[in-house]
Amino acid sequence: MGAYGANGDTGEGAGAPGQVAMVFDLNKCMGCQTCSVACKVLWTREEGEDHQWWMSVNTQPGLGTPKGWEEMGGGWLDGQPVPGHQPGRAEFGGGWDFNYQEVFYGGTGSSTHLRPIDHGDGNTGWGMNWDEDQGGGEYPNSYYFYLPRLCNHCTHPVCVTACPSGAMYKRHEDGVVLRDESACQGARFCMEACPYKKIYFNYARNVAQHCIMCFPRLEVEVAPACARQCPGRLVFVGSADDDESPIHKLVHQWEVALPLHPEFGTGPNIFYVPPLSPSRLHEDLSIDEETPRIPPEYLESLFGPKVHAALDTMRRELARVRAGGQSELLDTLIVYHWSDLFGRYTTDPATLDRSPGRVPVRFGRSPGTPTTG
């Protein structure tokens, strides 16, 4: 087997013409989890989905969700898929049942407190946001920031390659990576292969599930729920190929928006503006103007070596504005009006005809979708 692309291994849509992309400006994320909850209430409220958070926000540095995901392998190396670990129920954790009965009606008074019930599958020892706000560094130079994560709808989706039953595919029209759940046999090779560990398993239904980028919303030009609900106005949605879009400018023109773990080789279409940070303090608590609180080498471990130039660009633009100048980059990141975030995806979902059967689905699975089989 040669490099990816041979045998249709990466799915039909590698380099989809209208690839939808997103940019998260981490300088504005406050870790409120509104995006996570917006997704949760929209998509993962059914049986077997309790522990699923297609959108999740973790404190960095941290073990994240699933626990220790960055060390679980997967992705591509030199055009070959890299074996990975399939995160299990205990590594995701969450989806808890609580001992309400015992606490409220058990007659044990204040000697019992509310806690998740251990069903023996190890899920009570971790959760989606378990290490919130722990962060890293030592006082007085402790630091943390928030990292919202979802499926990257990758240009070379190794999950699609790994699916033996041909259930996973990348949509030609917009590059969204989807799964035909009726074809999914629950083999979970996709979960092993995805280096971002953003695929969940529905044990009750024996199918894997992951973020669908709110494709029914995209089809009627409504931004995905995580983006639209974000009170920080930091999530851009659009095409990276449209020269006029903020996404194109942030990713390609100014090169301040970078993929997470580019070394995983899957070509993410979710990008991040890395966080600037205040200066470090010396031991005598005087300010070390030269050194940012968040270690640049840590940011490089997340976003690759281009992070240094991205941070330099942002600092240069900040200095320009502080000196009384103008910066199109900063104006773009400030987002003076919410609709500036979403390109053509600005339709108000409240205006849609929601009568049963009225939600149009424009793009089906294209005929002749290649599979790995």
């Binding site: 399939q86 033996p164 041909g166």
Partner: protein, 205 residues
């Protein structure tokens, strides 16, 4: 390998422990690992090359007919390890055309085979069907039959030994041969990673 018959039996034979099976001749079917070179999926090849799998078997196989249904009783030593992420599974392979090549690849794109697959269910999976009627065109390349393929299964376990009766439409035996496959859940076997018979078992009409 010898050949089997499929005598007419009563409904009670849907139970793998039914006495009806005692008088039906069975055949010990040896299994081999589905070859790693036959795996069509670059990820599966990368992840499983050099790993041990497909050691299950032999499967004691007996067939019967009940009304319009074909019944297949498979019995084999499963793993003593309790199920983790993956559960034990077994399947009956049925060529869809006469002259189909060896079942060792679980069919090919040119020569699809039917797969009646039983899978042990976790406590949280009791709402799922006990078996599926699939079409297989290669190792793990399984697709559900759109309609009309009703397959059911009942299983029992004595120690580590599984006994499973799969029941489905008797027309599926039209080519007169069958094969079997077993997946060891404790070894994370699933899809094309499992044990399969290398030759078809002939069924005497």
């Amino acid at each position: 390998m010898g050949s089997l018959t499929a005598p007419e039996v009563g409904e009670e034979a849907l139970d793998p422990d039914a006495g009806a099976w005692d008088s039906i001749p069975s055949e010990g079917v040896p299994l081999v690992p589905v070859p790693i070179e036959a795996q069509l999926n670059a990820y599966v090849r990368a992840a499983w090359t050099g790993r041990d799998y497909g050691r299950s078997g032999p499967v004691e196989l007996a067939l019967a007919r009940c009304g319009g249904r074909l019944l297949a009783r498979l019995s084999w030593d499963g793993s003593a390890v309790p199920p983790g992420e993956f559960t034990d599974a077994a399947g009956l392979l049925l060529p869809r055309e006469p002259g189909t090549a060896s079942p060792v690849t679980m069919g090919t794109h040119a020569e699809p085979v039917s797969l009646w697959q039983w899978r042990d269910r976790l406590a949280s999976q009791q709402g799922l069907p006990s078996a599926k009627y699939l079409v297989s065109t290669g190792p793990g390349v399984f697709r559900p039959v759109p309609a009309g393929g009703e397959v059911s299964a009942r299983s029992s376990r004595a120690g580590a030994r599984w006994s499973v009766v799969l029941a489905g439409p008797a027309e599926a035996l039209a080519t007169g041969s069958v094969g079997v496959a077993v997946w060891d859940g404790a070894n994370a076997e699933r899809a094309g990673i499992g044990a399969v018979c290398a030759t078809w078992v002939e069924v005497t009409p």
